[in-house]
């Protein structure tokens, strides 16, 4: 277990989770419902969490600028909906359209982050924050024509929430759904996630992937070995942006809605928190951290809702979620900082 670095956040979240499962049993919330939903939520958010890995490995830090990638994905989805594509094809088309957008945005985003070495996280946060109102501009004047996406009155400007019911909502969720003992297992969805994880794992075994890891660990060493550090970092950022774009596609189909405008603003923080719960510490990040972290984190999210409802305090769930999210990130910052301070 030491390999996965069991730290206070993990212990805390596991204890919290066990407590809530006990409470859930007490309130007679059905267990099979929890497990099926937990599996869906794992993938729904897991891809977004996975998108943090390349940048972490390349030593750029947590991608607090996740909205940049998310916006690329949203754009792809919107194009797909505008073409009225349905089912899995619609979703795949959305993903396909979002990739070139992600590469383009990632390139620009990378150029910015390469200028601010050592201050990437704070800069990424504000690049992400300022990108959202910029895109809001775009959403209001975007030349889309499918009335399902536009304001019903006036017919101009995108709706903040676009229902996907008649397009590709749950297209991937329902693929090869198997029911075992009352638990619905979304096999297709899980396979898709596994495939993405495997691809990323294989990528880090290639020469280029190794160079990326080396840049994260020791930039000067990599430079001396003839690696173009700026180029590798840019590609790590593009890769993160691309996976984030795919991530929002999976998220949106699972959720059943495309959320535009300010919705992506704060999405980076739960994702960051999830990977930290998994045991990621800076560049020491494995794919396993993503899976474990997302599962623990999202399951806590999931159970806390109905429990709070049972206790007649629905806001508490949300407050607790935010508090846990930020407490975990803060702990990670302090712990890593403390370690570095001791060495230096």
């Amino acid at each position: 277990m030491k390999r996965f670095g069991v730290q206070i956040p993990q212990v805390f979240i596991i204890v919290f989770l066990v407590l809530m499962v006990v409470l859930a049993l007490g309130f007679e919330i059905p267990m099979n419902w929890i497990i099926s939903d937990a599996l869906v939520r794992l993938v729904m958010n897991g891809v977004l969490v996975l998108s943090l890995v390349p940048m972490l490995k390349a030593g750029i830090g947590i991608n607090f600028g996740l909205p940049v990638g998310i916006v690329a994905g949203l754009l792809g989805l919107c194009i797909s909906v505008n073409l009225r594509m349905k089912g899995l094809w619609g979703l795949s088309a959305g993903m396909l359209f979002s990739v070139p957008v992600a590469i383009l945005l990632g390139y620009g985003y990378g150029a910015i982050l390469n200028r601010v070495k050592g201050k990437e996280e704070i800069t990424a946060t504000f690049v992400g924050f300022s990108f959202i109102p910029l895109m809001n501009f775009f959403w209001t004047i975007a030349p889309f024509s499918n009335p399902a996406m536009l304001w019903p009155i006036g017919g101009k400007g995108m709706r903040p929430v676009i229902g996907l019911k008649s397009y590709f909502a749950k297209a991937l969720n329902h693929l090869w759904m198997v029911e075992v003992m009352g638990v619905k297992i979304p096999v297709g969805l899980l396979l898709f996630f596994a495939l993405l994880c495997l691809l990323l794992f294989v990528f880090f075994r290639t020469n280029f992937g190794r160079a990326m890891t080396a840049v994260g660990e020791n930039e000067q060493f990599a430079r001396l070995a003839g690696v173009n550090v700026a180029r590798v970092r840019t590609w790590a950022i593009i890769l993160s942006t691309m996976i984030a774009a795919l991530g929002i596609c999976v998220y949106a189909q699972s959720y059943g809605f495309i959320e535009l405008y300010d919705a992506p603003l704060m999405m980076a923080f739960p994702a960051a928190s999830a990977i930290l719960v998994g045991g990621s510490m800076g560049r020491h990040t494995h794919i396993a951290h993503v899976v474990i972290g997302t599962f623990l984190f999202q399951t806590t999210y999931l159970i806390s809702g109905p429990i709070a409802n049972e206790m007649m305090l629905p806001e508490v769930a949300e407050i607790f979620r935010l508090m846990i999210t930020n407490a975990i990130i803060l702990y990670a910052l302090l712990y890593e900082g403390g370690k570095r301070h001791d060495v230096g």
Binding site: I112, R115, T123, I132, P133, T140, I319, L333, G337
Partner: protein, 347 residues
């Protein structure tokens, strides 16, 4: 050095343009700007000391704001009016902000070079804790004396708390008019007093220490300065000033939006400071004062300008939040580029 002039110039141009298209009357805009100056001025000034001490932008001034709100709610809860209420909220707010400033300072001493992202997260976390206390704690663990401010279910405080007993205690002092422009001289003088106070601190021995620590930790240590303690002092001072600044803000509005009043104070204050020509490593009082005027005039006129140019007020709204976030992002990028080492090549 050039960015110290370029950024304000861009803001002058932008707000001039937006003002032209908005078609608002100069008197109205000026009145609004004066109000904003009173409301947000001190908050902006709270950012200056941590920047001087090399800790970057202190986004955790939100915590100071929360302390102020806590003090205010307590005063309302005890039903204290007017001066005694003012005194209580100031004392409680200041005590809380000293304690939280100490905690934040200790945290930040562990995260050298990553202070800014840490302060952002601390701000978020403090917001959650605050919400938990006043939305859940009140009525369950804490018994309120004033039932009027509670939600009907008995747990948690209402979203809005009316501050009638404090309204117009300070705002109307020495108020006079020139034409259609209202000038609450007392409040303006108060903000200016804070500005003078911060200017004074930079001229003292302590201020010199802030500056030395800001230039280089290692050198400061070698010169026998207790760097961690100086950094904690900077954060405590900043949190304290932020707390007082937020009291000004709420009292001027006359209503407390319990769960949202503190939101974005950090972003707007910081953007205003940067608009005045400050950078992440260098900020002066004059940057703050200039920045408030520039940033808020743009803020006031841009929705109307958006309406008139594009026929959509939302566009102006987006534009101004882009300006707020974008200014900070720009300042961060610009600052890092100045420090960037050049790559090897024969010139």
């Amino acid at each position: 050095m050039t960015s110290g002039k370029r950024v304000p110039l861009v803001f002058v141009l932008l707000s001039g343009l937006a003002f032209y298209y908005s078609g608002m009357s100069p008197a109205f805009v000026l009145n609004e700007v004066i109000t904003r100056f009173i409301r947000d001025g001190v908050m902006v000034l709270a950012l200056i000391i941590p920047i001087t001490a090399g800790m970057g932008i202190n986004f955790s001034i939100v915590v100071g704001a929360l302390c102020a709100q806590a003090g205010l709610i307590l005063a309302v809860d005890f039903g204290l009016g007017s001066l005694s209420g003012l005194l209580l909220m100031t004392l409680v707010g200041m005590a809380l902000s000293v304690v939280s400033g100490l905690i934040i300072g200790i945290c930040l001493n562990r995260v050298k070079n990553r202070e800014m992202i840490t302060t952002i997260i601390i701000g978020f976390l403090a917001t959650s804790i605050y919400q938990l206390i006043f939305m859940v704690g009140y009525g369950t663990l804490i018994t309120p004396t004033n039932q009027e401010m509670m939600l009907s279910r008995g747990i948690g405080i209402r979203n809005m708390v009316d501050l009638e007993m404090f309204r117009n205690v300070m705002d109307t002092l020495w108020l006079f008019k020139i034409g259609r422009i209202e000038i609450p001289l007392f409040m303006i003088l108060m903000v200016c007093a804070f500005a003078v106070m911060i200017k004074y601190i930079t001229m003292t021995r302590l201020g010199k220490k802030f500056q030395v620590v800001g230039e280089s930790h290692e050198k400061a240590l070698a010169l026998g300065i207790n760097v961690p303690r100086v950094r904690i002092k900077a954060i405590v001072a900043s949190t304290l000033i932020a707390c007082l600044g937020h009291l000004f803000y709420i009292l001027n509005i006359g209503m407390l939006n319990v769960y949202t009043a503190h939101m974005n104070t950090d972003i707007f204050s910081c953007a205003a400071l940067m608009a005045g020509g400050a950078t992440v490593v260098k900020a002066r009082v004059r940057h703050g004062l200039l920045g408030i005027f520039l940033f808020h005039s743009l803020f006031i006129v841009s929705p109307q300008a958006g309406q008139n140019i594009f026929g959509n007020p939302a566009l102006g709204e987006y534009f101004r939040s882009f300006v707020a976030y974008g200014t900070i992002a720009f300042a961060l990028i610009l600052n890092a580029r100045n420090q960037e080492a050049k790559t090897g090549s024969i010139r």
